[in-house]
Symmetry: C2
Subunit: 206 residues, 2 copies
Amino acid sequence: MDSTAEDGGYQAWSEVTPDAARRLLVAAVDAFAERGYHATTTRDIAGRAGMSPAALYIHYKTKEELLHRISRIGHDKALEILESAADGPGDAAARLDRAVRSFVRWHAAHHTTARVVQYELDALGPEHRAEIVALRRRSGAAVQRIIAEGVAAGRFAVPDVPGTTLAVLSLCIDVARWFNVDGPRTPDEVGALYADLVLRMVGAQK
Amino acid sequence: MDSTAEDGGYQAWSEVTPDAARRLLVAAVDAFAERGYHATTTRDIAGRAGMSPAALYIHYKTKEELLHRISRIGHDKALEILESAADGPGDAAARLDRAVRSFVRWHAAHHTTARVVQYELDALGPEHRAEIVALRRRSGAAVQRIIAEGVAAGRFAVPDVPGTTLAVLSLCIDVARWFNVDGPRTPDEVGALYADLVLRMVGAQK
């Protein structure tokens, strides 16, 4: 269960209060990851959290509200990671390196949460989905900005900037699918490997 | 619905006979993709195929048997694509280019099937899962063989061959998650973009 893992000072779900609301969110992540959103009931989630369905209802009116909260927190974190790298110090190569390392580490360390966040988008209601799509656009724009600046400075050679941005994000996101805590690589090691591969993808001059 | 799309002469599910068994498989892919494996019943699948639950039972004893059949066909096709590229003509760069193009095209053109194949592995029974994991290892080995040959011939510069193999496969597989038939790129265009990016990842000499 990665729901309580730490990542660079980020204590998962610490933004969710009170404690009962946080326990329900952690239970929902685990249930959605294990059985899928549509096969999970609010009763299942309450049971996993050791609470009654009535107690759940105090904090979340619907199952979709739980999914939205999870998705929102995950996407806010992704955006924060990518914008802070894009706006940080250093040249485009240093910023792209930092963006990829942090984004990969997050998807590896929080792979259960990240899978729910990435695979259950279609289960969000239309308004929530539009809100999340807007956050995803901003995340993509942060990465695209770094790559475009590297090209403009003559440091990167990228024939298709939007396509390469899409591929870089996709490569990092898919870490959540295959990452295995019992596997041979730590989140930091995958981050370092991927930062190198992405700098190659953009033809970064050494 | 991509279940009937063609890809390089491959008519989806043409290996499944009789027609009723094929219709049930197509219905299962759509249901699993839309609601998830655990939220889908054999009654749902029979209904989508316009058949009775009793008629389904003639062809498939359990829901897991349907998932296994889908997963097996998808993984057989992936292995065929990657081994035929690995064993094909040309130097390592030409073979890696061909492997990535075909693998990406398949994941784009058959993205609904590919999502089920990739995301529902945990729902397979232990024996079926072991069988599929073995096919996945062989697919990975085919790609790793091309990369290792490129390195041995002094044409690729790859510090971490297993890690880079994993990243290349992951990049291609994740096309199934984000590919949108209404998006700006065709499966062929994504294949060409990704072949170029992968050749950069392995430091291929032009």
